[in-house]
């Protein structure tokens, strides 16, 4: 037995298992609170720490809500519909949680107590970490299908199919926008990608990086079924999509899996575009890197919550055509631009700032104009909605 | 005891024959299709095993060939399933026993 390795793995994974579920709990509270404020409500503010048997408690702005939710979920009855596939019904939430948890290992979190400075732990220093990330994330679709199919419910199946179509479609711009970073760094290794951005060389600070980041972020919203792309669980159309028939602990697992997936994909976005652990003071105090990393994830999650409170849901055809007719061409173009820019910058180093300025202006212009053009083309066929019986 | 090339070869032939068994004995065209996938994957295992235990690992023939095979297999599955669906449209069935129009009549 290789005790060193096991110790390393434990040191790397146990913190993940502590940090992210905690963040999940807090996030649910933050989300409810923030959405409530956006909608001019107050949100959860009652649940707190009870002080005595006969009333009187410390409410703490409702911070106890997640714990209460969790306890409620745990003790709710486990209902399996008649005619459902019992095995798959059970396996689906587990299968949805596993990939999300697994990919967390590949984030270059740089815990200070780990010796290796490039990555979280040597065992997870896969050469093709980024590809592995996408491969494992892709498994999520299977869990969704499993849940939808096993429930024996029309709405579930419909939601599951919607989710698969959406995830498969948005995976393409997601991967293509990540390719930009992989190309520039020349490695698929998450640690190396993180390291190459040290000292404020974040990829989001270049035009193509910015474009790729925006595409990536939009696609990751769709990948994690977040609003405005939450059609698979659109309650006004198909109840709750593929987890209509889930309750209790299984539902909690789905919920957890979804949020962990959000963290994971935000973590990947941070790794690829936002300089991973880089930030003020990170050079001097390497232990700050974890803090920065988590902080950036939190910011992204915050934006996601904000978007949920702001944007209405898309229609199915809009969703699809947005992925295939807008994001995909744009991300392919972005790859070409990156290639040209990289080539031009590396071959004309003597001109320094001038060439850089020209390339940046040109690529920004091209990307902006293409986005505009694609938008116009896509909207060409959209006419004002007419109502047969209205007016 | 160490794992040798033999282990992999025998494992691959077992997997291949399971796939073959599926292809030869099932009625559903889709099952036959994924039996064929099992066979292809068994062959891929052989490629990688020969590469790992072979003489010139630096040439990377095994992984490259497997990579190409996987891509071709993906194309094959896509086409195969499209054909199955086309057949289903036509016959309202994917049962290989009922698709007997090749019969000499």
């Amino acid at each position: 037995m290789n005790w060193e390795l096991i110790k390393d793995i434990l040191l790397a994974t146990v913190p993940l298992l502590v940090i992210f579920p905690t963040m999940f709990a807090l996030t649910t509270w933050v989300e409810r609170k923030a959405l409530a404020r956006i909608q001019n409500r107050i949100g959860p503010n009652k649940v707190g720490v009870p002080m005595s048997r006969y009333g009187g408690k410390l409410s703490l702005f409702g911070l106890g809500q997640p714990a209460a939710d969790g306890i409620k979920m745990l003790f709710k009855e486990n209902i399996v519909p008649t005619g459902a596939d019992r095995l798959f019904h059970l396996l689906a939430p587990i299968l949805s949680l596993i990939p999300a948890m697994l990919v967390l290992c590949f984030l270059p979190l740089n815990f200070p107590w780990l010796t290796d400075e490039q990555n979280s732990v040597k065992a997870f220093m896969l050469d093709g970490a980024v590809i592995f990330f996408f491969a494992i994330t892709g498994l999520n679709t299977l869990a969704v299908f499993m849940a939808g199919w096993a429930s024996r419910n029309k709405y579930s199946l419909l939601g599951g199919m919607r989710a698969i179509a959406q995830m498969v479609s948005y995976e393409i711009p997601l991967v293509l926008s990540a390719v930009v970073v992989v190309m520039t760094v020349g490695s698929l290794n998450a640690g190396e990608i993180a390291k190459s951005q040290d000292g404020w060389n974040w990829f989001v600070f270049s035009p193509w990086g910015l474009a790729a980041f925006i595409i990536f972020f939009i696609a990751s919203l769709a990948e994690t079924n977040r609003s405005p792309f939450d059609l698979p669980e659109a309650e006004s159309e198909i109840i709750a999509g593929y987890f209509t028939e889930y309750s209790g602990f299984k539902f909690a697992l789905f919920f957890l899996g979804e949020y962990i997936a959000m963290f994971a994909i935000s973590g990947l976005a941070v790794t690829l575009f936002l300089g991973a652990g880089d930030g003020p003071g990170a050079e001097a105090y390497p232990s700050l890197k974890v803090i920065w990393f988590l902080a950036k994830i939190c910011v992204l999650i915050g934006i996601m919550i904000w978007l949920r409170g702001t944007l209405p849901r898309l229609r199915v055809d809009q969703l699809m055509s947005f992925a295939w007719k807008f994001l995909m061409p744009l991300s392919i173009l972005n790859i070409f631009i990156t290639g040209f820019a990289w080539h031009a910058e590396n071959n004309n180093e003597e001109y320094g700032f001038t060439i850089k300025a020209i390339i940046w202006t040109a690529s920004l212009l091209i990307l902006y104009l293409t986005a505009k053009g694609l938008d116009k083309v896509n909207r060409a066929n959209i006419k004002p909605r007419t109502y047969q019986y209205g007016e | 005891m160490t794992v040798t090339l033999h282990h992999y070869l025998i494992l691959a032939s077992v997997l291949f024959c399971i796939g073959l068994l599926g292809a030869l004995s099932r009625r559903n065209a889709i099952v036959v299709l994924f039996s064929v996938e099992i066979m292809l994957n068994a062959a891929n295992l052989n490629f990688i095993a020969f590469w790992r235990f072979g003489n010139n690992p630096e040439l990377l023939h095994g992984p490259l060939f497997t990579l190409f095979t996987i891509a071709v297999a993906a194309a094959e599955v896509a086409l195969g399933l499209a054909l199955v669906i086309a057949v289903y449209r036509h016959f309202r069935s994917v049962d290989l026993e009922s698709l007997n129009t090749l019969k000499e009549e």
């Binding site: - | 030869l24 036959v32 698709l99 007997n100 019969k103």
Partner: protein
């Protein structure tokens, strides 16, 4: 002249063929195809200039193409005088034909497709010409075959055209079979398929030693290669496809049957001439050529279809080329090939122009009097005719003269046959011209002259048809390998005599006749024995067939009688048995039982063909098992 520049010659038309499907209109397609071929033509003429005028010797280009085990297969291009002359001819005549086609096909809806096929064809043919490796040669040869199939059956809504394409494809395939076996034999005995290489001298320098099937191996190889050439060049046993191929559009006829495809066979013999020489097969080549020349000339006399006459004429001239190679080496055969390409292309294009002008009428009995409405075409056509009949000092005269001289020196029977064929050539060409040009028009529609894009190539070609022979004779005979003979007086005398005599004969026979009115004026006239040969040629086969049918009918009657007898007898006996009370025995055992047994047997025989897909899969797997077991067992 680098490898890549040389490779451009066939690649430009190939690229054009690839690009044309993207074109919107036929005009664009024609422009692309013509442009590409003109580009090739430029390069080819440049190459021609370098090899012939500057006399630079280029090393053969050869490159490894694929390696199977220890076997290396090369492909490459070669540039020697033979190649460059041929390439220049093909691209030049081809360009003119392309330009002509742009006019000829202008109204066809599928013009773009036509030019795509034409470009593909040109590219294949140029590959054949430039190939330095037998395998590349064969591949391009097959491309030529496919393209010719597509072109001949281009108007595939006509059943005859479709059938003709099929026929051309199948008949040439028979020859190709021999060719392929020959290639394999070459590879087995020399280990290389390159014609020339810089290091080990290539296939043509190291002639294989040994025997195969009890003959000298070079003899076998050259025979097999010659079979391929027979198929492609329409020599005697396999010439049947060529006249039928006239169903294709006329530019196709000009391209395939004048300048390029049929010349490929002759070119093959020329290219592998050393093997033929070593194997002692040249007399066979000469004899096959001579007989083909004669027979085809006779057949041509009895035809009424304008293009069909030219087709038989082509067969006949190809025979003469074979004679030339057989008796006097590459230079003489190639000389005739080159001159023939020009004047036959001219004739075909002229014929196309005539047909076009007569509103798609091909029957010469319904023509006549075309000299007045179509002056340019008439002049051009007459130029081509003069060259073809070897009128003194036209290009055909020079080349045919060399052939006859060589034949006189080496093989006198062949000489006389060739001379007779030449005479017939003159007669049938005169007959054709008499039918078409003088007198009054017998058709229904008013003939008109074709447009400039069609007549200009004709005029260019007629200049070449008249002048080329004198121009290139000396340099060609010096540069290409061969052994031209001394010109005896009798040869020149005979040669001039057959040409002038043939024309005179034709004029004498046909002048002042009511052509086209009589049902078959040829059969009634005093020179009918000439056509009697032709009729005999068909009548013998026909008679034999009739005889066979009569015999079969008799046999059939006999069999019917026997059947009736048997039935009668059987019914008698059967009735007897039935009455005898053992109906049960016969019905259940002998008859029904047998039937059932046969039914069972056939049912089990059809079980393999039962449309049961898993069963097919199992059979495949069973085959794999048996193969594996065989390998295990034998190793």
């Amino acid at each position: 002249m680098s490898f890549s520049t040389l490779a451009l010659i066939p690649l430009l038309p190939l690229l054009a063929a690839a690009v044309i499907p993207l074109m919107k209109s036929g005009k664009q397609a024609a422009g692309v195809a013509i442009g590409a071929l003109l580009g090739s033509c430029g390069i080819a003429i440049w190459a021609f200039y370098k090899t012939w005028i500057l006399k630079i010797v280029f090393p053969p280009f050869s490159q490894n193409w694929l390696t199977i085990g220890g076997t290396e297969i090369n492909f490459g291009f070669i540039l020697d005088p033979l190649t460059s002359a041929m390439a220049a001819m093909v691209t030049f005549v081809g360009s003119l034909i392309f330009i002509y086609s742009a006019g000829y096909m202008a109204k066809d809806k599928r013009m773009a497709r036509f030019f795509c096929y034409l470009s593909l064809f040109a590219s294949g043919m140029l590959g054949v010409v430039l190939a330095n490796s037998l395998i590349l040669f064969f591949m391009c040869w097959e491309i030529v075959g496919v393209a010719s199939y597509l072109l001949i059956s281009f108007w595939n809504h006509k059943p005859q055209a479709a059938a003709a394409g099929k026929k051309a494809f199948i008949v040439t395939r028979i020859g190709d079979m021999g060719f392929l076996i020959g290639i394999l034999l070459v590879f087995k005995s020399t280990g290389t398929l390159d014609f020339y290489t810089t290091e080990n001298n290539g296939m043509l320098q190291i002639l294989p030693i040994g025997t195969a099937f009890g003959f000298k191996i070079t003899a076998v190889i050259s025979f097999l290669l010659f079979v391929g050439a027979i198929g492609k060049s329409g020599q005697l046993p396999l010439h049947v496809w060529l006249p039928d191929a006239m169903e294709g559009p006329t530019p196709v006829s000009a391209l395939i049957h004048a300048a390029t495809m049929v010349a490929a066979g002759v070119f093959l013999v020329a290219r592998t001439h050393p093997i033929f020489q070593d194997g002692g097969m040249l007399p066979l080549v000469a004899w096959v050529g001579a007989i083909t020349a004669l027979v085809a000339a006779f057949i041509a006399l009895g035809q009424y279809d304008l293009k069909r006459i030219l087709a038989y004429s082509t067969v006949s001239q190809l025979g003469l080329m074979m004679v030339g190679i057989g008796v006097a080496g590459v230079s003489v055969g190639m000389f005739h090939l080159l001159t023939h390409a020009f004047f036959k292309a001219l004739l075909f294009l002229g014929a196309g122009s005539i047909i076009h002008g007569c509103h798609e009428e091909q029957d010469i009995r319904k023509m006549g009097g075309l000299a007045k409405p179509m002056p340019l075409t008439t002049i051009a056509y007459l130029c081509g005719t003069l060259a073809l009949v070897a009128f003194p000092f036209t290009s055909g005269f020079f080349s045919k003269d060399e052939i006859l001289a060589g034949a006189w020196a080496n093989n006198q029977p062949v000489f006389w046959i060739a001379a007779l064929a030449s005479l017939m050539t003159a007669v049938y060409m005169t007959r054709q011209c008499m039918y078409v040009f003088p007198g009054v028009h017998r058709g229904n529609n008013e003939p008109h002259e074709s447009q400039g894009i069609m007549t200009i190539p004709l005029l260019i070609l007629s200049i070449f048809a008249l002048g080329l022979g004198a121009l290139v004779r000396n340099s060609l005979l010096e540069t290409l390998p061969g052994f031209p003979a001394k010109h005896e007086t009798i040869v020149i005398t005979v040669s001039i005599a057959v040409a002038l005599g043939g024309i005179a004969l034709g004029v004498l026979i046909y002048r002042g006749r009511a052509l086209g009115q009589a049902i078959d004026p040829l059969a009634l006239k005093p020179f009918e024995q000439k056509f009697w040969f032709d009729e005999l040629y068909e009548a013998t086969v026909g008679r034999l067939w009739t005889l066979f049918i009569i015999f079969s009918e008799q046999l059939n009657a006999l069999l019917v009688f026997i059947r009736d007898l048997t039935v009668e007898l059987t019914s008698r006996i059967g009735t007897g048995f039935a009455i005898g009370g053992d109906r049960k025995l016969i019905d259940s055992l002998a008859f029904d039982g047998l039937c059932n047994r046969i039914r069972c047997a056939s049912r089990s025989a059809t079980r393999v063909q039962n449309g049961f897909l898993p069963g097919y899969l199992r059979l495949i797997a069973l085959g794999a098992v048996l193969l594996g077991a065989l390998v295990l067992w034998t190793s």
